[in-house]
């Protein structure tokens, strides 16, 4: 997401309310797009299929299958997300754009192979009771969705935000449409519809990429060259994605909170619905985060490093450092404010939604906890983003690793403690990580010039 700032600033420079709103809208969609569109997509598919698909359990099976596909593909490709973004950014900085596309090809090939083999093994051995069609579509979906994440990163690295938004919109419209048309074929039909929509999305992205970036070579693996690969960033991507899904997975697997849905896939009705609902509140926070971080912060950030490189005075350098610190502080406060508003809105309508979906109001407290946790997750993302900019990879590994471990440990403890503590594991893991993260941000900002000049010998 490092390159988004430019486009956003262009929008903000129009200086009108409309321009501002458009900037926020873009940011909201891009920051949380993949997540939220996926959630909305499968919710809508679920809703339109209600009463049409029989047995009704097929809808749940579909939703759970897709959730697993998204979760596992995110964790799998998470190892490459940051490392590949960094590779693209570094090559762009060196003006060696020609290296990027071949490596995109390489990453795509690798992801296709690995995800294909993993999905094939899962389909062969874990779903003995399912039809061949289901298993085939499952493998195809997993490969396609994994590749979508990589293509999304590539396009955002290339600053093609408008196209990303457009393609996601069209892709999910086709998903819903195809699923609607195929809903008569039960689970297989819904899943096939999903595959068609996702394939359309991926094809659109690939057409855009290949048309926009012709290259002589189609596949290269320079990304894995020792000079250009940051193993620490691979860890960070893995830890963060695994951390985000750890509590959900534990709730699915636990005998008291999860139940089998299809094959080995389990779901936790009481946990999943509040969690996914609360993720809808991510949109405004992400928008604020993106606008603050990618415009104001980046401006002071580049001023800071320009002054460092090109001979600014120390007081100017310190001034820019302070402005950066202020932007971070203000940005985090704004995220919290806007998340609070979004959370309050959701809480007011939550009772009605729960009623509509037939969920016991007993789980309303869990939704509240999750809403707070979601707000913290946005803040956590902001902190990760800051350290990506400051290139403090050791801290990134520490923070995301801590988050993963704490989420596992605290979630397990919360399960022991009983239903009134559900969700607190995730919340507490985030709270500790965010607290430590904020302290580290403060410490880093406090010694930024010292660090820049004295601890990095060139």
């Amino acid at each position: 997401m490092a390159g988004i700032g430019f486009e956003l600033r262009k929008l903000l420079r129009q200086d009108t309310l409309l321009g501002l709103l458009r900037a926020y809208a873009y940011a909201g969609v891009i920051g949380s797009g993949p997540w939220v569109l996926s959630i909305i997509g499968i919710l809508i598919v679920g809703l339109i299929s209600l009463g049409v698909v029989s047995p009704a359990v097929a809808v749940t099976q579909f939703q759970v299958t897709v959730t697993y596909i998204i979760a596992f593909s995110l964790v799998l490709t998470g190892t490459l997300q940051l490392a590949f973004t960094r590779f693209c950014a570094d090559r762009l900085f060196e003006e060696r754009e020609d290296m990027i596309l071949p490596n995109f090809g390489g990453v795509t090939l690798l992801v296709t192979l690995v995800s294909g083999v993993l999905a094939l093994l899962a389909a062969l051995f874990l779903f003995p009771g399912q039809s061949v069609l289901f298993r085939t579509v499952l493998v195809a979906c997993f490969v396609v969705v994994s590749n979508i994440w990589i293509a999304t990163i590539f396009l955002s690295g290339m600053k093609q935000y408008r196209s990303i938004v457009l393609l996601y919109g069209v892709g999910y419209a086709i998903t819903v449409g195809a699923a609607f048309l195929l809903r008569g074929f039960d689970l297989e039909g819904l899943l096939l519809g999903y595959l068609i929509g996702q394939s359309a999305l991926l094809s659109g992205m690939l057409v855009l990429i290949l048309r926009g970036y012709p290259s002589k070579r189609s596949v290269a693996f320079e990304l894995f060259d020792k000079r250009w690969l940051y193993p620490s960033l691979m860890l960070v991507g893995l830890f963060f994605n695994a951390g985000v899904w750890a509590d959900k997975f534990i709730f699915w697997m636990d005998a008291s909170t999860g139940s089998p849905v299809i094959g080995p896939l389990r779901a936790s009705l009481i946990y999943d619905i509040p969690v996914f609902l609360s993720y809808l509140s991510l949109i405004p926070g992400m928008a604020v985060f993106l606008v603050r971080m990618e415009t104001d912060f980046v401006e002071y950030y580049s001023n800071f490093y320009d002054a460092v490189r090109e001979g600014g005075s120390l007081s100017y350098i310190e001034d820019m450092r302070n402005q950066m610190a202020t932007t971070i502080r203000v940005g985090i406060f704004e995220i919290l404010k806007i998340q609070a508003i979004a959370a309050l809105l959701l809480i007011t309508v939550a009772r009605d939604i729960f009623g509509l979906l037939g969920i016991s109001e007993l789980y309303l407290p869990l939704l509240r906890v999750q809403l707070v946790a979601t707000a913290l997750q946005v803040v956590f993302l902001a902190i990760i983003n800051v350290f990506c900019y400051l290139d403090q990879r050791r801290i990134l590994v520490l923070l995301t690793g801590l988050f993963l471990v704490l989420n596992v440990v605290f979630t397990l403890i919360s399960l022991r403690l009983g239903p009134q503590f559900f969700g607190y594991g995730f919340l507490l893991a985030l709270a500790v990580s965010v607290g430590l993260g904020l302290w580290l941000v403060q410490r880093s900002m406090g010694r930024l010039e010292y660090q820049t000049f004295m601890l990095r010998s060139g």
Binding site: A307, V308, G312, R447, F453, M454, R456
Partner: protein
Amino acid sequence: MTPPRADSADICLLLEGTFPYVSGGVSSWVNQIIRGFPEYRFACCFVGSRAEDYGEMKYTLPDNVVHLEVHYLHQPGDGAEHKAHDGDRVAFDKVDQFHRMLSSGRVSDSRNRLFAELVDQLGDGQGLCESAFLHSRASWDLITDHYRRHSRDPSFVDYFWTVRTMHAPIWVLKRIADDLIPARLYHTVSTGYAGFLGAMLKHQTGRPLLLSEHGIYTKERRIDLFQSEWITDNRSMVEKNNTEMAYFREKWIRFFQELGRECYQASDRIVALYENNRLRQVEDGAPPQRTLNIPNGINLTAMREVRARRNEEIPPVACLIGRVVPIKDVKTFLRAMRTVANLMPEAQGWIAGPEDEDPEYAAECRALIHSLQLDDHVHFLGFQNIADLLPKVGVIVLSSISEALPLVLLEGFAAGVPAVSTDVGSCRQLIEGLDEEDRALGSAGEVVGIANPEALGRAVAGLLRDPERWRAAQQAGIQRAEAYYTQERMFASYRALYQSLLNDGEAR
């Protein structure tokens, strides 16, 4: 060829950017000295800037060089990330205190004691170790504090790297000093970093330190620094004040001055080539009682043979022997030749020396010859063997704007050629004599002001057209060279110095 290695040596020469990897006046002198003292075992410690700046050895090592080590001051960083640490505040306070003493410009015992104390803490793991300087918070605070207090240039990054680049070699020198083989006497042939290494060695080992300076290091550095474009000046048009030097340039010059001062303070004896340079050393902080002059010496036997090849006539030839570069001010020589040619149409002007060092300047000189209509009078001879050239020359001309103790004048004298020179370096001392006894020998030619072609030309013509005066000058030159500027005399002076310092060293 692998450099020779030994466990110990009698005399360790500290050589910054000179023998055996760079050719030139100082290097030839070092070569001459080593060969002149076969009874001593020499170690050579060469200190260069970066490995890629030097090629093969320019000299065959004399047999009595038992040890040679090569070091480079500027090394690229390791590129690694370093851990933040506080550093030794007390030690850095002392550094601050030392810098305050430096800016007061006075030398004192307390300053020398503090210097010794600081040098003792430079080793790995100590308060002022290299990593403390490069990475500690205390060091950062000191640098930023000094930037705020002193920098007239706004650019912090340039200030920071200037401080780093100029100080970083100190720890390289410290490691050299720690690892150097034991020697009974350290002899540095310049101040600067090598001289500072000498000062550290003196403090560390207690062995005597001898300093021989040919040029004046800080003065040469000053010229380098004025010509270098890598030193930036970031003041804006409004801030710029042309009476002030670019801040970083001034900083470098002061840094080298202080390096020199430490070397002067630590040296047991300080040798200059001639009186003016000695006075300058004293002005720059050398204790007067430790200074002395030892001029360069020439190989008299060889020059006597050259003299024997002369005939009685005075050839109407004025010859400039030297490289065709701006510092020799060849253009003034050419303009002077116009005057000479006006006065004596048969006169010839020769320029004997390589033209490849500054081709642009050489081309300008050729164009000037043409426009002065001197095509029949002036000739470029290229590099010449002095033994073949001198018998054909009537007067040696030196139009330089800077010289130290030019050997060509002495070789000319010994070979029976008088000289006309600009008043630079030791030229007046060589032509007119230094003390009363010396002056009584008479003038070996004439001294004129720099960049004065008219005066130079008249002096040359005057000498060439007056056989009586010419012969008197010839005799004065021969006698002066034979009395004061022989290789034997130089060796004798150094022999006395070496012996007394080595004895002192043993006695301690």
